[in-house]
Symmetry: D2
Subunit: 435 residues, 4 copies
Amino acid sequence: MITRIEQIVDALEPQLIEQRRDFHKYAESGWTEFRTASLIARKLHDLGFEVKLGRDVVREADRMGVPDEATLEKHYQRAREQGADPEFLPALRGGFTGVVGILRCGEGPVIGMRFDIDAVDMTESQSPEHRPVREGFASVNPEAMHSCGHDGHASIGLGVAAALVELKDQLRGTVKLVFQPAEEGVRGAKAVVGSGILDDVQYMFAAHLGSGSPTGSVAGGRGSFLATSKFDAFITGAPAHAGGKPEGGHNALLAAATAAINLYAIPRHSQGATRINVGRLQAGTGRNVIPAQAHLAIETRGYTSELEQHMYNYAVRILENAAAMHGCTLEVRAMGGAISGKSDIELADRTRRIAQRISDFTHVHPGLSGGGGSEDYTYMMARVQANGGQATFISIGADINGAGHHTAEFDFDERAMRGAVKLFVASALDIMQNR
Amino acid sequence: MITRIEQIVDALEPQLIEQRRDFHKYAESGWTEFRTASLIARKLHDLGFEVKLGRDVVREADRMGVPDEATLEKHYQRAREQGADPEFLPALRGGFTGVVGILRCGEGPVIGMRFDIDAVDMTESQSPEHRPVREGFASVNPEAMHSCGHDGHASIGLGVAAALVELKDQLRGTVKLVFQPAEEGVRGAKAVVGSGILDDVQYMFAAHLGSGSPTGSVAGGRGSFLATSKFDAFITGAPAHAGGKPEGGHNALLAAATAAINLYAIPRHSQGATRINVGRLQAGTGRNVIPAQAHLAIETRGYTSELEQHMYNYAVRILENAAAMHGCTLEVRAMGGAISGKSDIELADRTRRIAQRISDFTHVHPGLSGGGGSEDYTYMMARVQANGGQATFISIGADINGAGHHTAEFDFDERAMRGAVKLFVASALDIMQNR
Amino acid sequence: MITRIEQIVDALEPQLIEQRRDFHKYAESGWTEFRTASLIARKLHDLGFEVKLGRDVVREADRMGVPDEATLEKHYQRAREQGADPEFLPALRGGFTGVVGILRCGEGPVIGMRFDIDAVDMTESQSPEHRPVREGFASVNPEAMHSCGHDGHASIGLGVAAALVELKDQLRGTVKLVFQPAEEGVRGAKAVVGSGILDDVQYMFAAHLGSGSPTGSVAGGRGSFLATSKFDAFITGAPAHAGGKPEGGHNALLAAATAAINLYAIPRHSQGATRINVGRLQAGTGRNVIPAQAHLAIETRGYTSELEQHMYNYAVRILENAAAMHGCTLEVRAMGGAISGKSDIELADRTRRIAQRISDFTHVHPGLSGGGGSEDYTYMMARVQANGGQATFISIGADINGAGHHTAEFDFDERAMRGAVKLFVASALDIMQNR
Amino acid sequence: MITRIEQIVDALEPQLIEQRRDFHKYAESGWTEFRTASLIARKLHDLGFEVKLGRDVVREADRMGVPDEATLEKHYQRAREQGADPEFLPALRGGFTGVVGILRCGEGPVIGMRFDIDAVDMTESQSPEHRPVREGFASVNPEAMHSCGHDGHASIGLGVAAALVELKDQLRGTVKLVFQPAEEGVRGAKAVVGSGILDDVQYMFAAHLGSGSPTGSVAGGRGSFLATSKFDAFITGAPAHAGGKPEGGHNALLAAATAAINLYAIPRHSQGATRINVGRLQAGTGRNVIPAQAHLAIETRGYTSELEQHMYNYAVRILENAAAMHGCTLEVRAMGGAISGKSDIELADRTRRIAQRISDFTHVHPGLSGGGGSEDYTYMMARVQANGGQATFISIGADINGAGHHTAEFDFDERAMRGAVKLFVASALDIMQNR
């Protein structure tokens, strides 16, 4: 069986690369993946998948960090000009850029697989040293670049779809391929889970390319993710002339500065690691005006969701009181978030054993790989685990050309995609056949 | 008439000095003037005055900055040992140390005169250079010293009483000599006013010795006083072991530090001078304990009562929110206060013209003297002015021996008391006879 | 003589309005007044004035708050397209946008007159209610609007030039008409003074239109100006991943917040009014990055230059230590400044008496008008006064259409310009003839 | 051999209890253990030990947190009155309250054992519920109480001395019994190590009673100790009258508040746990005086000494700049400190195996017991380990009567001392005989 899978997937490799480069060239940031998602829907539909998309797989109330209407619309129009699929595009309008392809093959387990599809809010390098420039697939969209490998993830997902269709006679049960928007900033997964699309899933998989390991290495499960909240605080006071009537204003900058220092001063916690950062503070307008507006971009983290919530609640209390202290009001907007989470050891082990039989993998990590960082896939893990299922998060090694993730010269070894597709497909078959 | 007054008062001078030195030696701080007040009551009674004291002239609810029960009782017992008058003492117990002597002489205006009687909370110098040491009348009470001249004020008040009795045949109307406790820290006047004892007063006088002018100089009225609030803030959190469970506490020190910086950062005011000070901050106990208690001693000031209240209200808002920010609670206690105030120009001018006829005064200030500083006599001025009367605050020059007011080596030229007595007496007669 | 002046100036009125509207339409902000200054130079030259401009009247080292090279060049090119005078334009390149016209008429006093010519950094209202829109002279340049009346000042200056030429036979001495760039933000006068162009001036005049008084009113001198410093603080730290290595950064945002609170907490001053404002604070980039950069836009003010310098020095000390506290470095850039200053009473009175004879003025303010606000004309006053000369700052009343100064709907009554021209001209003649 | 040790020690039990209660009754805080140390020296001498004490075993330059001269002398006199040994007392004067007893028995290993002897700065409960009260050995010294069991440690040390003497014929090598002052606040061990007395020690032991385990339990070694610095910061500014001349002072309270908030805001560290606390802040005097003095009692901690030093250095940088920001000066005084440390697994295991053969121990912890907290014994461990030796820190279980360590009702089960003595003695013999 592995042999047949290997043959099928090896034959798909040119297509994997072509797709990845197409997504890379037309990179789209979170909630604006109009072109990307519409083309994925087209492909899934043409392969025979049942396709759900838009509001059917993205619950509006659970979206976080959505750009304003004007930005959404501008990028919607851009997608149209850049070759989006006209049939599926309209359902995505307004930032409902998730797609789920469902393949039902009779009785059997329900298996979910998550592929995130969004780019990072940064402009790609124009250096001729940079392979995407040299080979003509660097991003043509300013402030949008696939510097985290999600172009690869999306292409892997389509590769899995294509391979599964060829193996359809072997399948017993249902596969749901979930193409998730807005993973950057941990903004999208909660809304996908909120749609209920994963409620019947019993086995859940996701993977990430790179992460410091070379092509050919793999780990069956990640040990832990930090819980996190990303949120913006808006403090509103009142302006006044700083020379003529300094007492007349309500100083939002002073409130924000008081908040910022006290946020960093939230006490350490004896139960585990916590983090807080005020990544950005912008306040005031003219030099001679008492500042009436302040905006803080904040994130809290914790080794567990409890620790993270402790940080978050303390932070909001500080913000409220710092604002009130200077006669200002506060608005807090959730911009992203993820809970803590761990791969199920049983499913991670099973995945590891399958990986050992795939020729692409020359180094299979023996246990759960190290933790750190945050991922909103944890919402999906938690939903499946809460329903009695199992979930894992696979690390696929990939050589990195140029600089690391989230840098303007990021690029990865495209050969790594092949092994990833094989592992997803082989895992699905293993579960269906040996449940 | 002035001639007769001068003769009477000149004869009283040895007694003025003796009384002043007796009060100086047994100095008593605000609300503990048990010995001082009881002896004043004795003297007034023996001179034929109607004497009101204790709760009749001090409204309990309006007292500010009263020491705790144990301190009051300890000093009450000390007063007994130091020769307090046994008949009048009991009425003062518990810190009701005001005395009012009333002399009724038929129909005529009601004239009030305020003499403050309390010492400062500081220990007198023991240097042999210091005249009170050399001549044996330095304070025997630790942490209590007449370094602001109120010993002289009290003695002047008794001199006025003695002189008025000798001039009784000339008097038409009523004189109320008000011996006020706890002027230091502006704590006592509001409670005296609250008793209603000044409600029928039509002309109100008070004076201060010294104030930077030499013996022989005088000003008929002070231009302005800053309004002020003196208050203590107590922040209560919860302790925790700083190493073992730092997240377990509610950090009162952190709340107090946040409050302190923001208090100083209250904006300047375009309508006039304002002031704020955190004179003392004490927080925490053990080095390895999250601090659960903090205490701040604060004062606000303003050129007008409106400006001062703006500062006070802003300060309390800061304190409330700084406490709440760190899960702490706040208690604010009023410790003293004075409103802004101005002498009536008409009464100040009248006093100035009378002073010009008294031989002790060689330099009579032509107008209202400069402002600055705070005095709770302003409550008395405001009450009389609100009832349609007039009030003034006289500055009596006095050479200062040693260092300035509120220093451990303060002493003043006792000859200045004579002129002050004459001016009070002559003013009363002038009003009664030429109303 | 006044009659002749009135006739000449009344005839100039259509030209005053036309010029003002031309400057208004092509509004240029401080240091980019390329078109405005070149046309002024052209006109002065054509009238027979000796013209100095560019680096001859603007000392490079004393300029403050100059835009970057790219901005200067962009607006230089814009000026070319909008009809700048090609002969005089090149001398202004790089932001040397001052012009001085000199008229020498034999022996006699040297008289200086300052006219500021720059617009405010704001976009003009497009409302049809707004007269400049309705009558077609609203600013065509975004982020540049004459909302402070300097278009009127520039036109008045040209009117004075034209009138003086007609009166040339009456003149004895020298007149220097100084067209100053960058008064907004108090950035330009110091550099004009630095050029030495005013070193021989014995009588110095300037005027401001509006200021809360109606058309027809005038005051011969302003009582006082607050000294001020405008400066930017740049704090540079080091970035780090806020989740993965929070200890690795140097947090510029934390330093800036600490600075901001402490800046507001600089103590009040007993010697007079002081002010401080942090008008703008911008720090950090990504939410999950320890902020490595912070920028604060600050101003300090004081009733005297000494008070202002006390504030400024304290502020810089706070900034230096707040940066160092968190391992960051600080750069402070002067962006503008003015010293305190007062009109000479003698010259203000003389101007007032002349105004009483001009028919346009129906209400002449009896003394110096009230203070408040800052003006960099104070550098010019100080230079002339230091050389033994006299200086005054005249307030010319003008009805305001729409909203007040520095709002997007500001407009003023153009009839007020006529009286202003008359007063400048009549004052010059009075000094020359009756010195 | 164990049997003989058990017999000897069981017979010593009444003496162990008597000694412990004597030390408990006359509790002495760190650096003032004059009576305690002198009686220990007496006993060691009488048992035949070579006794070193005072400056021979306490290096002056390495002492931390020593009380002032007056306090030392007052407690020295108190010790004399409370039965200190007159022969050994003088050598301790001035706070050199360490004692080392040396027993040399020919060739063989050098074994060190540390017993800390100081009380905690707190007043013992007077409740009749409290056994020391009921049985008459509660502390008679105010602000000094053995609430951490060091009375037991001292008595155990004397028990070890007595037992070793009885076993002298079995000994091969040297034993050094180190009675250390001032372990509370981690102030004393560094000075003992600094004297060089441990430079030849090859095996080092110490133990603590209690720590949450019941009587009968024991662990052969503690896994880790947090490094810590205890230090005081003194900020000195200048006073001024807060109403009359607020600009005249240098506000030490404002500097201290700025420091305090920023100290808590030192970023978390990715390499392990860190801690910081400002346990006490005292600033200012009078309400109307700009505060000229501030005192902060601070501690930093870290999982490793490197982490702790990172915290300490950052903290000092904050303090220096907060002081300089407001024109104040800073003095930092070291008040205590400990490095991080770990028991040698080999020696801990060896101790554990010996414990398994002692009848008092019914539960022997299998490995290193958990970490947390700080101990300055780490300086001794580090010295011995640096010289190639081994060190361990033994946890001896003991039931706690009343409340926990460092509470006013602390008391421990005295039977636990017996097992501790046996374990020290048996370990020494094991090393000497089976090295």
